[in-house]
């Protein structure tokens, strides 16, 4: 059923999307600020379920690409995202019936709504990651072997590029990344278009609603001064893994990605127990007392113990007090093909995937 989102829903979406970002995806504060101003100007956005799409409907997937740090100087601009969508429409010679999110985790969980506000298109309550991941082939639609092209990329100064055809998702990632770099390492993109049938089969459904529910739970707990982490676990079938404080952060970049390790020291009932998390933009593998206990595609969420809000890998620092929880991933990523795309080996860890939820 098509429903209008309130600004309060979008405030909750920002908090929930940042938590589903699992350490990456960029803090959604600036997209949220755009939405506040768009709502003040009278714009409204609507959410629909994937089963409302006709099989031959055409859906545009909206995402920002680039380094989150660049986005802190060249601020997210809603009209530029809308231009990425209209460029794709011109390229295809056909109008979209709806938009959707590539990545619910982080800033990209809100960007489709920024474009939708200008284009008067509904947004489908589905995405292709159910979280945040660093690369284009780490999506449910790539696992489903759907087409990895065309991709449109625009820059606020008027540049327009389309990656028309590439042999694989990996190549789409490489070529699009090059264009993005030339733009100044930030681009508004429209990802390969999807039919209604494709979205219904390969989309990860209900993720915007899920992010809003998580965010609403955290915000209510903050207002009532109750435990925000318990509030998340009351609306999501997650698992509390650890409470502690950051005692060391080691970072390095390789091939344009931020990789590293965070070490924690236990607090409260976890006193005396050590925890480490390895990350590549997102949290990838968590180990307790040197034993891997949680790994991708399970969602590893590091939360500020007091506010319940997400802590990102780019900003986590010595001394922060955090709680680590896990949330279950989409089943699409649990198949052998899914694990090839996003399991621990896809990130260079020689581990057999074992879910914290299978025990």
């Amino acid at each position: 059923m098509k429903r209008e989102l309130s600004l309060d829903d979008i405030e909750s979406l920002a908090v929930g999307a940042w938590i589903l970002g699992t350490g990456g995806g960029g803090n959604p504060y600036l997209p949220l600020l755009n939405m506040r101003l768009l709502y003040r100007q009278g714009h409204r956005v609507h959410l629909i379920d994937s089963n409302e799409l006709a099989d031959d409907a055409l859906v545009g997937t909206v995402a920002g690409m680039g380094a989150p740090l660049i986005g802190q100087e060249r601020l997210n601009d809603s009209l530029t995202l809308a231009r990425a969508v209209t460029l794709m429409e011109r390229h295809l010679g056909r109008k979209f019936d709806a938009l959707m999110s590539m990545e619910i985790g982080g800033s990209n969980g809100i960007r489709p709504f920024m474009a939708a506000a200008h284009l008067d298109l509904p947004v489908v309550d589905s995405d292709t990651m159910g979280r945040a991941y660093p690369e284009l082939q780490m999506t449910s639609v790539a696992v489903g072997d759907l087409s990895g092209y065309p991709v449109s990329l625009v820059d606020v100064r008027g540049f327009e590029s389309v990656v028309h055809k590439v042999p694989s998702w990996k190549w789409a990632e490489r070529v699009a990344r090059k264009v993005c770099t030339e733009y100044g390492s930030t681009a508004a993109t429209c990802q390969p278009p999807r039919t209604g049938a494709e979205v219904k089969e390969w989309g990860i459904h209900g993720t915007t609603t899920k992010a809003i529910a998580i965010g609403a739970a955290v915000r209510e707990a903050q207002r009532k001064h109750t435990d925000p982490v318990a509030a998340i676990l009351s609306v999501e079938p997650g698992k509390l893994l650890y409470k502690g404080k950051v005692i060391d952060v080691a970072r390095r970049t390789t091939e344009g990605f931020l990789r590293g390790v965070v070490r924690f020291d236990g607090l409260d009932e976890y006193r005396g127990s050590a925890f480490t998390i390895n990350f590549q933009n997102e949290w990838i593998v968590g180990s307790r007392d040197d034993q891997p206990v949680v790994m991708t595609p399970d969602l590893i969420c590091v939360l500020d113990s007091v506010t319940g809000e997400a802590v990102g890998s780019e900003t986590i620092r010595y001394g922060q007090r955090v709680t680590v929880i896990a949330l279950p991933p989409t089943k699409i990523f649990l198949s052998p093909k899914g694990l090839q795309h996003v399991g621990p080996r896809a990130f260079g860890y020689d581990l057999d995937f074992r879910s914290v939820f299978s025990a």
Binding site: L69, L75, D265, G319, Q320
Partner: protein, 512 residues
């Protein structure tokens, strides 16, 4: 070296004289409504002890909450013209877009956005549209605006466009007071711009306040330059503080931690500052407070100021005590302690009454608290210690036992032994630690910038050079400079070998 440190607190204005590293005298005067009377009173009170007789004072260092209070209370603010160089980017998020509406209505004199700015690697984002800047300046002049905040995309990397725009605006408005966001450092356009706009809004107040401080010093008969303490525990010369008042927003807690370091001789320790109502717990690293890593809101405006990471709990010398069931704080009698505490003839049982009954403090009338037996006092002290222990444990970042310095007027609540603490250090003049921190403050310089295709060592050394130059420009003696923070952060999704480096150095105030 002979300096006077002054801390203007909510209740008292403390002044200390430090001579060759020793606290010679500490005095207190009530804080006055206009702030400067309290400062003059404390200086007179210090002078009346005779310690200043015939001596040359090298500097008076004042820590004040005057500027932050103006923002929080929405008073004495100047209307500001905001000029952003970065079009066509960021157009949907104009200056003031995330300010609370009441504050924006007071400060927003007009918004102009023109083409300009740089990329992260120093390339031009857009050439500066000089004609548009000149046109904007004409409109500012017509609107009667004299205080201008200029921001540009990636200006911490290349401040060229902001500086050129400032020149152009000055040609049209010769008496304009201009804040360039690059003077306030740090990557994050909106937050840096916000800091610049707040700074521009304080232009008139800063000029008047600094002049009043200088007059108070002159009126007290002291001939010494004025320094204002900053958020990070260092000082700025009066001229710089007048130009960048936002850097002096929140110096109280920082001064107190720096004072604790100085009085104890320790540079790495936990500090617990027990006041009348609250207790702040923080950690000293290399003699400076560890900084908070979150975005700091001032009067509802997001900024990227350097503020110490503190945990505050409701425990202090004026905390209400309830005996059955036992509860200490968070409510406090605050500055009414000398009226409302039982030992002073009042009716509210406080932690100070317990200390008087136990013979720990000699204040008020001990007979009035004679009904409190030793066992009761012990129970209350144990509860206060438990609260302190929990706060310390939350702030500790290492597993082993660490030394703890206890300062502030309520430091008597901290016992000599605490779990997780190797030793508790009570220092002489600990109740004036904040004024001591002001008196001993140094000068700092910072660099926060992206370096490309340099080795890690080269990037760190380049950043260090920039930070050193900035510290010297701010009044530090070059030979005394030392690096107190150095952080490098490889950047995701950027080509080549891009690394963001932040270096902070401090040094002694240069003589003369």
């Amino acid at each position: 070296m002979r300096r006077i440190g002054i801390d203007v607190g909510g209740t008292n204005t403390d002044a200390v004289l430090i001579e060759e590293g020793n606290v010679v005298r500490a005095v207190k005067a009530p804080t006055s409504e206009d702030v400067t009377t309290g400062i003059l009173d404390s200086l007179k009170s210090l002078g009346s002890t005779g310690v200043l007789q015939g001596k040359k004072i090298d500097g008076v260092m004042i820590g004040t909450t005057h500027f932050i209070n103006a923002v929080v209370q929405r008073r004495s603010l100047t209307k500001v013209a905001a000029l952003r160089l970065g079009m066509p980017a960021s157009a949907s998020l104009p200056p003031f877009c995330d300010w609370p509406e009441d504050l924006a209505a007071l400060v927003r004199g007009g918004v102009w956005m023109v083409e300009g700015g740089h990329e992260y690697d120093g390339r031009l984002f857009m050439p500066l549209d000089e004609a548009a800047v000149t046109k904007a300046a004409g409109e500012m002049k017509a609107a009667g605006l004299k205080s201008v905040g200029i921001s540009a995309i990636f200006s911490p990397l290349d401040p060229g466009h902001e500086r050129r725009a400032a020149e152009l605006v000055s040609k049209i408005i010769p008496d304009a007071v201009i804040t360039c966001s690059s003077d306030l450092g740090r990557i994050g356009l909106l937050e840096r711009e916000n800091a610049g706009l707040l700074n521009a809004a304080l232009a008139d107040l800063a000029r008047d306040t600094i002049a009043a401080f200088e007059k108070a010093i002159a009126d007290s008969g002291i001939a010494a330059p004025l320094f204002i303490t900053q958020n990070d525990g260092t000082v700025a010369e009066a001229a710089q503080a007048r130009r960048l008042p936002v850097y002096s927003f929140a110096s109280g807690a920082t001064n107190s931690m720096r004072g604790a370091a100085y009085l104890s001789g320790l540079s790495d320790a936990m500090v617990i500052d027990v006041g009348g109502t609250t207790t702040d717990v923080g950690q000293l690293k290399h003699g400076f407070p560890r900084e908070a890593n979150s975005v700091v809101k001032v009067g509802g405006v997001r900024t990227l100021f350097r503020m110490p990471d503190l945990l505050s709990i409701g425990l202090g010398g004026g905390s209400h005590v309830q005996l059955d069931p036992l509860k200490v704080g968070p409510v406090s009698v605050g500055y009414r302690l000398l009226k409302e505490g039982i030992a002073f003839g009042g009716r509210q049982l406080t932690t100070t009454d317990i200390a008087v009954a136990a013979g720990v403090l000699e204040l008020g009338d001990r007979k009035k608290v004679a009904h409190l037996d030793a066992a009761t006092c012990k129970k209350v002290f144990a509860e206060a210690a438990r609260m302190a222990e929990e706060a310390i444990d939350r702030m500790k970042t290492e597993a082993g036992d660490v030394p703890l310095i206890a300062v502030g007027g309520g430091a008597f609540l901290i016992p000599e032994k605490l779990p997780g603490v190797s030793k508790v250090i009570h220092v002489e003049h600990g109740d004036c630690a904040n004024a001591v921190g002001a008196a001993i403050a140094q000068v700092s310089g910072e660099c926060d910038q992206i370096f490309k295709d340099l080795s890690r060592a080269e990037a760190l050394s380049a950043a260090q050079g920039i930070a050193n130059d900035r510290a010297v420009a701010a009044g530090a003696a070059r030979a005394s400079l030392a690096t107190i923070e150095s952080e490098d952060m490889p950047l995701a999704y950027l080509p080549g070998n891009s690394v963001r480096v932040r270096v902070r150095v401090v040094g002694d105030v240069a003589a003369g």
